[in-house]
């Protein structure tokens, strides 16, 4: 008798509850945010949200309006300013699809500590977006630029950061987790890639920017920003940024040239690269050993060199080893002498292999780092010559 009532009762109650309509948000009630820009405005934060206009992105339609819209709000905290945006936007902003967070250079120089907790804590954010610094401009300006090729500027930034990292290696994509653990860690200081507006700001803001063949205003990644704790203190230029990527074992592929014995250049493409960082302590003196192993292909020859001789190849290998070492040393030098911060994580390597020594120097590691002797060794192997064996330049000479 009892059973008769219990089972249907449970079924009815469950079917009402399990539908999950408690806090539902329909797709047409939300504004999908793809990029967040954060700037300083006095004591407050000025937050810019780049939101997709779904009608414009749709495959068939697309009219006179821009594919994305930005909303701005200024408030004492990030969370407040983001909710304040509802006074501008007809829909609540939904942050799960954010691809990139841009931090204005001014804010980066003052310290970014205040903004990171919110990004990590709010469960709506998925921690797979990248963070970059707007170099020499504000985040707001960056997010206003219309981009060609990709309709949504945030997507262009996201893929262009990944592509450049993979194929040229002067940029490094940093996720929120990595940034936070670098700030917390005593043995590694954080970095963020810089993002520049190339061309006139005004021209880039209108839709015409994407209507010309030669886009007047473009967004360009350039160089890596060096942080001390949470404050931006300077920039690495392109070769130094590449050296940085070598040092943190983040080079997937890149291209570099060496000079031929009798003038001209040979360009090599790195197809595999692996860096091992080893920390050691000898007689109480710390030191770092770096070994870079690379496999390269010949990509371009601009001189009459005889590629078919094994000796030439050996010569090439030696020269490119020297070249890699000099790139790497250049960026170590800059970090040690100019900025005095350990962005390469040598401290963490020390912590892992010599925990006892690390305990002694932990507190003033950056000072130790500035005078740390670093040994760089490279081992380059030329594997293939591409689809042409000997260059026609050689034939021409004969």
């Amino acid at each position: 008798m009892k059973r008769k009532f219990i089972l249907p009762g449970i079924v009815i109650v469950l079917s009402i509850l399990v539908t999950g309509c408690w806090n539902r948000r329909e797709l047409n009630d939300i504004a999908i945010e793809v990029a967040i820009g954060i700037d300083k405005s006095g004591d407050q934060y000025r937050v810019t949200s780049q939101v997709v206009d779904p009608g414009e992105v749709a495959a068939k339609k697309g009219g006179d309006r821009t594919p994305v819209i930005t909303f701005h709000a200024t408030a004492d905290s990030l969370f407040e300013s983001r909710r304040k945006m509802t006074t501008l936007s007809s829909r609540k902003i939904y942050a799960a699809h954010v691809r990139i967070v841009v931090i204005g250079e001014e804010l980066a120089r003052e310290g970014i500590r205040g903004i990171l907790d919110y990004l990590a804590r709010d469960h709506e954010h998925r921690p797979d977006f990248f963070l970059v610094v707007a170099k020499g401009t504000s985040a707001e300006n960056v997010l206003k630029i219309i981009t060609p090729l990709e309709k949504i500027p945030a997507n262009k930034l996201y893929s262009s950061l990944q592509t450049s990292e993979r194929a040229w290696a002067p940029t490094t994509s940093v996720t929120l987790d990595e940034l936070i653990s670098d700030i917390v860690s005593k043995g590694k200081q954080p970095v963020l890639t810089g993002l520049e507006v190339k061309g006139e700001q005004e021209a880039g803001e209108s839709k015409e920017n994407a209507q010309k063949i030669d886009t007047p205003t473009q967004l360009k990644f350039s160089g890596i920003g060096v942080f001390k704790d949470d404050k931006l203190i300077g920039w690495l230029n392109e070769p130094e940024s590449k050296g940085y990527n070598y040092l943190i074992n983040n080079v997937k592929s890149t291209v570099g040239h060496i000079s031929c014995p009798d003038g001209g250049k040979i360009v090599l493409e790195a197809i595999r690269s692996k860096t091992k960082v080893k920390a050691n302590v000898k007689n109480g003196e710390p030191g770092i050993d770096i070994r870079i192993k690379m496999e390269v292909n010949v990509g371009e020859v601009q001189c009459g060199i005889d590629l078919m001789k094994p000796d030439t190849i050996a010569e090439l290998e030696k020269k490119s080893e020297q070249r890699v070492i000099s790139i790497v040393q250049q960026s170590i030098h800059k970090a040690q002498k100019e900025y005095g911060v350990d962005i390469f994580g040598f401290g963490e390597a020390m912590h892992r292999s010599h925990p006892k020594y690390w305990k002694e120097v932990e507190e003033n590691w950056d000072r130790e780092f500035a005078d740390l002797p670093v040994q760089v060794k490279a081992d380059v192997k030329v594997r293939r010559l591409g689809s042409v064996g000997e260059s026609f330049l050689k034939k021409e000479k004969e």
Binding site: I10, V13, L14, L17, V18, W22, N23, A120, H123, R126, P127, D128, D177, I180, S181, V184, S185, H351, R352, S353, P355
Partner: protein, 372 residues
């Protein structure tokens, strides 16, 4: 003493599945042993060793009284009055355990259902538990078997996806091993991992008597503890190498943070919803087994049929889970207190005393009349 009236039986593999689900239940989702920093995985293996010792005590008692529940042989060994009082204490302890684990699961869900009151989520969860209890241990065992196989296969898939995600697992983050010596490791074992989850195995003294082949009990339990310990240690090891120690210590539910990192070929990603589902299934079994222990304990003590007690026990567990802690911080803080002060009494002290008393009684020849 009351014998098991119903002829409910579970197979050794069902017992194995239940133990696995129980052990992995909540322990796999919370940051376990992180006070020992990058050596957290070691604390779990040592905790497991302690767990095997504890289980040996329970198994000894089970082998001596294969037909009786914990409450049953307690009144044989300690006498009727003391046995009854301790029995009540055990029932309360099991209800508390069920409430704690229910709350753990609810806090996890509340992270995603941030506006839904946890009361509503709690009703749904405890409703399922209550239904399972009505159906009895046999049904629970069969369900456990199915879910264990399903979770095991999805766990393997999960592991493979994690290993195939580029730049995700960085083994060198577990270095340096034993940076501060063994002390922090043992301290963490004492404060956490010995009792949680391995000390909670005491619940199974209410399940073991249903095993269709009593001789396999010890072996099955041991295998399950070993397997679950190794799995938890592996998960924690991966958590350290994926998240790093600092992020691991900051994270409330590191298993989720780790699952969010899975990213294979830009299309297998954001698997956290699946991970939550798996963890909640585990949690269901943990709550169910704790409540089952409370249920059969009280029905044995008060000689009331089990089905009459299901609703009261389940309701008490639900209300307790909502009222034991005002917020998530208080909940975790109380957990630390319970693990060092309450759990050792029920998981180690009383069973140990039972075993010693029983050994002495045997030595004095007391049990001649009741051993057949």
């Amino acid at each position: 003493m009351k014998r098991m009236t119903k002829n409910e039986k579970i197979t050794p593999f069902q017992l194995f599945s239940l133990i696995m689900l129980f052990e992995l239940g909540t322990s796999i989702m919370v940051p376990l042993g992180v006070d020992a920093k990058q050596d957290a995985w070691m604390t779990i293996l040592i905790g497991m060793a302690c767990g095997i010792l504890m289980f040996s005590i329970y198994a000894y008692l089970f082998n001596r009284y294969p037909k009786l529940l914990l409450t049953g042989y307690m009144s044989v060994i300690f006498g009727k009055v003391l046995g009854f009082i301790l029995g009540i204490a055990y029932v309360l302890f099991f209800i508390y355990g069920a409430a704690r684990d229910l709350r753990d699961g609810l806090e996890l869900l509340a992270l995603f259902y941030d506006v839904t009151p946890i009361f509503v989520l709690g009703i749904l969860m405890i409703g399922a538990v209550g239904y399972a209890l009505f159906m009895g241990i046999e049904t629970l065992g069969r369900t456990g078997e199915i879910y264990f196989i399903a979770l095991f296969l999805s766990g393997i898939t999960w592991l493979l996806l994690l290993l195939f995600s580029p730049d995700t697992v960085k083994i060198n983050q577990v270095m340096p091993i034993l940076e501060n010596g063994w002390m922090p490791v043992f301290k963490t074992v004492y404060e956490q991992t010995a009792m949680f989850p391995f000390g909670e195995m005491i619940c199974f003294s209410f399940v073991l008597p249903f095993l269709n082949n009593a001789k396999t009990g010890y072996k099955v339990g041991l295998t399950a503890i070993l397997a679950s310990g190794i799995i938890i240690a592996l998960v924690v090891f991966l958590e350290i190498s994926v998240l790093g120690v600092s992020k691991l210590q900051m994270s409330t539910f590191p298993l989720l943070s780790m699952t969010q990192r899975i990213r294979v070929g830009d299309f297998i990603q954001r698997l956290d919803a699946i991970a939550v589902a798996g963890v909640i299934v585990n949690d269901f079994f943990k709550v169910a087994i704790f409540s089952y222990a409370a249920l059969s304990g009280s029905s044995d003590l008060f000689k009331v049929s089990k089905n009459k007690l299901v609703i009261p026990i389940v309701l008490i567990a639900l209300l307790a889970s909502l009222f034991i802690a005002r917020n998530v911080v208080a909940h975790f803080e109380q957990g630390k207190f319970a693990l060092t002060n309450i759990f050792p009494i029920f998981a180690v002290a009383i069973p140990f005393l039972l075993m010693m008393t029983d050994l002495i009684r045997k030595g004095l020849g007391y049990d001649k009349q009741r051993q057949r």
